[in-house]
């Protein structure tokens, strides 16, 4: 596989959210607004890229028997860095994302990529895999949160940390409150997955 394919693989063919259906906890929890989704996605991307880099560098040093604890320590280090940087730089976003920042450490995607890709591939390829998977995760989160924020509140891109009050598309009184409550997360993601299944099924028939 070429580097370009490694990169695109994470975004389309093996998109973590829509194809692998991994790491659903933060996806459901933070997709209330687009900015929250973007923040979570970028935090996870940073951890994914850095841990892929370090693990692929150390892949010949780490003994096979204790590889999982070693991976966890590497991942946890970067999660702590992200946690502290976000607490200092974007305190409001950090407060909203809450426990889901430290919980990146138990996100199946990150440990999964470390085990399935970074521990078997060169540094360059692992870097691109991390970037692709991270961006695929971020784009999936943004797509889901566009639906939830727009249909739930009538606004888009509300960002408290940057003093931006959002674009009002329609009045809030027409918004479907359910979509920003917990059930809305499950239902929106379910419908989105069904839509993507239907679309890719149709494309498969045409071929």
């Amino acid at each position: 596989m070429k580097l370009r394919q490694v990169f695109a693989n994470g975004i389309f063919r093996e998109n973590p959210i829509f194809r692998l259906v991994l790491g659903m906890c933060p996806v459901l929890a933070v997709s209330v607004t687009v900015v929250n989704g973007l923040g979570m996605g970028l935090a996870a991307t940073f951890v994914l890229v850095c841990s892929n880099l370090i693990i692929s560098l150390l892949r010949n040093v780490i003994p096979k028997e204790v590889r999982i604890p070693c991976f966890i320590v590497v991942v946890a280090t970067f999660v702590t860095i992200v946690d502290k940087v976000m607490a200092a730089g974007v305190p409001e976003l950090h407060g909203v994302l809450g426990i889901f920042i430290p919980l990146i450490v138990v996100n199946c995607i990150i440990l999964g990529r470390a085990e399935a890709f970074a521990s078997r591939n060169t540094v360059g390829r692992s870097l691109f895999d991390g970037l692709g998977m991270g961006l695929g995760f971020t784009l999936g989160l943004i797509l889901l949160s566009i639906f939830r924020e727009l249909l739930g509140t009538g606004c888009l891109l509300v960002a408290g940390d940057f003093g931006f009050s959002g674009l009002e598309v329609f009045s809030e009184s027409y918004g479907a409150l359910l979509l920003i409550l917990p059930p809305g997360a499950f239902i929106t993601l379910g419908l989105l997955l069904a839509g993507i299944n239907w679309w890719s099924g149709k494309k498969g028939e045409e071929r």
């Binding site: 906890c25 430290p102 996100n107």
Partner: protein, 197 residues
């Protein structure tokens, strides 16, 4: 005593770990195809959650003592990983019957974010030792309640005529959404009246 009851009730029903806080979604979606296996997973998770709550309470006290609270994430995840291994070994020796029932689920629990989540919530909320214990156990019960309800509905869905695109995860997520909607009804519950305060 009454405040512990209120804490337990709100952890199980009002802010249910799976349906309102979105913790432990992976096993919730992955191990809920059959009622028996979901019950087994539920018991294993409850056991580990209670133990993890108690032990991370001690770890947090140590971290504060040595003024290294920034090591919380890294030390909690290691403690949980070790705990799960340890529990697995003990159960294997002490009760082979229980091991056969729970054994296959135990390794999966290390990466269950509900276990790590309950440990972090206990610290963030500043719970006392007893509150930590009650919250850990109730969190496990809330997981059992959610996964058993969900598995029961999912078993019936196996035979329902569905469009091809809706099969599998999409319909499962929509069912989860409907259960979660039912649990929203608890959010305005008057706990004071319920427990006679």
């Amino acid at each position: 005593m009454v405040d512990l009851l209120v804490l337990s009730f709100s952890t199980i029903f009002i802010s249910n770990f799976v349906l309102a806080r979105f913790l432990g979604i992976c096993p919730f979606l992955g191990v809920s195809r059959k009622l028996e296996t979901s019950l087994g997973m539920g018991f294993a998770v409850t056991f580990v959650m209670t133990m993890a709550s108690v032990i991370t309470y001690g770890v947090q006290k140590l971290l504060v003592l040595y003024n290294v609270e920034f090591l919380r994430t890294i030390s909690f995840i290691l403690v949980i990983a070790v705990l799960v291994q340890f529990v697995e070994m003990i159960i294997k020796k002490a009760s082979p019957v229980l091991y056969r029932a729970l054994g296959i689920y135990l390794p999966l629990i290390t990466t269950n974010c509900a276990v790590m989540g309950v440990a972090i919530i206990n610290v963030d909320e500043g719970y006392s030792f007893i509150q930590t214990l009650v919250n850990g156990f109730s969190a496990g019960l809330s997981f059992i309640l959610a996964i058993v309800l969900f598995a029961g509905l999912r078993e019936r869905m196996e035979f329902a005529p569905l469009p091809k695109a809706m099969k599998g995860f999409p319909i499962a997520l929509i069912i989860a959404g409907l259960i979660s909607m039912a649990f929203l009804g608890f959010s305005n519950f008057n706990l004071q009246a319920l427990f006679g305060l």
